[in-house]
């Protein structure tokens, strides 16, 4: 049974659309599927992994038609290498960076308060959970924000870097770290943590999810899918998961 049941998946259906999407887009992609189908689209399949992994695979000839990245740098690289179709590139959504605490009764930090000082104070001896500050986008944005706030030199040695945002979230949720810096979308779904501050947009480069069609893929289908992603229905799904509409470039 095991062997025959999966004969379905024998090989990539020539006409089937394949979307390579950053892992954090997993939920969104799942909720988009019925919507796309309702519009008359054929079933598509999504490969979810870290943006860097997907980007490298696309570089190496992966059968992707559409790439949704959580990281502009990788999309830039693909664009430079000519692996994606630059004309089809746009930003799908935006996100914000928030400070979360484990303590459910933790007082929110009012927009006027000195964020850096508050973090320093509330952290105490604990660690600040972030994604890898040199490698993973959430960490890179977070580091930029802390630098802007002038808190970086003091906090750098007290940061626990996880390999992705979800792991950073888990560090706070499990009580391992009292505070963490994650995306608003992640904080939204974790009941054990509380958002106590948002980083002002100006403290870090804008958080964008670029999307583009991959060269050599099913151009027509990819184009239709990209259009669908910009449709109000898709925007609604994104919003429901906490993403913000991307400002026009």
């Amino acid at each position: 049974g095991v062997l025959s049941s999966s004969a379905v998946a024998q090989s990539a259906d020539a006409a089937q659309l394949t979307v390579f999407a950053a892992a954090s887009m997993g939920d969104v992609m799942r909720d988009l599927a019925p919507l796309w189908k309702a519009q008359g689209g054929d079933a598509f399949r999504t490969s979810l992994a870290g943006s860097s992994v997907l980007a490298r695979q696309i570089q190496q000839g992966a059968p992707a038609d559409v790439f949704i990245s959580a990281n502009a740098a990788w999309m830039d690289l693909l664009e430079r290498d000519g692996v994606i179709l630059p004309d089809t590139r746009s930003d799908l959504a935006a996100n914000t960076l928030v400070l979360i605490a484990r303590d459910p009764k933790a007082a929110p930090i009012a927009p006027g308060q000195d964020l850096a000082a508050q973090i320093d104070k509330r952290l105490g001896n604990g660690r600040l959970a972030m994604a890898l500050v040199d490698a993973v986008p959430a960490g890179i944005y977070g580091k930029a924000a802390l630098e802007t706030l002038g808190a970086w030199p003091g906090l750098a040695p007290r940061i626990a870097q996880a390999d992705n945002v979800r792991a950073a979230l888990a560090l706070v949720a499990s009580g391992e770290a009292p505070l963490g810096i994650v995306y608003a979308t992640d904080a939204l779904a974790e009941p054990r943590v509380r958002v106590i501050a948002s980083f002002p947009p100006g403290t870090h480069p804008p958080i964008r999810y670029p999307v583009a069609a991959v060269a050599g893929g099913h151009d027509a289908a990819a184009g239709a899918f990209l259009a669908f992603l910009r449709s109000p229905g898709a925007a609604g799904v994104l919003r429901a998961h906490g993403f913000l509409p991307a400002p026009e470039r």
């Binding site: 049974g1 095991v2 062997l3 049941s5 999966s6 379905v8 998946a9 090989s11 990539a12 394949t18 390579f20 892992a23 954090s24 997993g26 939920d27 399949r45 999504t46 490969s47 979810l48 992994a49 992994v53 997907l54 490298r56 695979q57 190496q60 000839g61 992966a62 059968p63 992705n164 979800r166 979308t185 992640d186 939204l188 779904a189 974790e190 998961h241």
Partner: protein, 232 residues
């Protein structure tokens, strides 16, 4: 049960079983051969071969996956060769997941079998020689039956590792449902999105259940072999 896991999840279970099965089966013959060479061979490149076999253990899985992607990917030299000559495509196919799992599990399998070969008394092999058996025949009729417990141990380690392998697989063949989304990839997918822990936990349970079943079966089989050898 059908309700407990969604169809995509069942697909991942089936795929993982398939991948682990083939990875184990296909790596057995080379695993035995390499183990024999390392245990008994006295050729110059021995230490190099030994190092090579251990590489997947030493490297972070992502690196192994990346190297596989560069070698066996669509543009990789070995990948192109396999495709043009044998019509075998590994990149982004479940066959590639088999390769990744097999490579990651290979050092474990080889070590287990090698230890068993080293424990075989060469005097028995000598005795078989005096009875007219050439070296290959000695291997098949004496050495192999005697190392069966080690081969079984190697196979089970390999299977378990193949069921759990994630880093190299997702890096090499990505995470495509029905094609390369194995159980660990599915678990990862759930863990990456808010609120996916429950679903992940269910898959972990399935994965553990399967592997434990295989483990138990192997233990019982080994016990039976031991009993038979003791003459009961």
């Amino acid at each position: 049960m059908e309700d407990w896991l969604g169809p995509e999840e069942w697909q991942a279970v089936a795929l993982s079983l398939r991948v682990a099965f083939w990875a184990t089966l296909l790596s057995l013959p080379p695993g035995i051969a390499v183990a024999y060479l390392l245990a008994r061979g006295r050729f110059p490149g021995r230490h190099l071969l030994n190092g090579l076999v251990h590489l997947p253990l030493i490297l972070p899985p992502v690196v192994t996956g990346y190297l596989l992607l560069l070698t066996f990917g669509t543009h990789g030299p070995a990948g192109a060769l396999l495709r043009d000559w044998f019509g075998v495509v590994l990149a982004f196919r479940w066959t590639g997941a088999v390769l990744a799992a097999a490579i990651m599990a290979f050092p474990l399998m080889v070590r287990a079998i090698r230890l068993s070969i080293e424990a075989v008394d060469p005097k028995l092999e000598q005795a078989a020689g005096t009875l007219g058996a050439s070296r290959p025949v000695v291997f098949v009729t004496v050495t192999l039956p005697l190392i069966l417990p080690g081969v079984l141990a190697g196979a089970v380690l390999s299977f378990a590792k193949a069921m759990g392998e994630f880093g190299a697989t997702i890096t090499f063949v990505s995470n495509i449902p029905g094609e390369t989304r194995t159980l660990p990839s599915a678990i990862y997918t759930f863990l990456q999105v808010p609120g996916g822990e429950d679903a992940a936990l269910r898959l972990v349970a399935v994965s553990v259940g399967i592997a434990m079943g295989a483990l138990l079966a192997s233990e019982l089989l080994a016990a039976r072999m031991a009993r038979r050898a003791a003459g009961a």
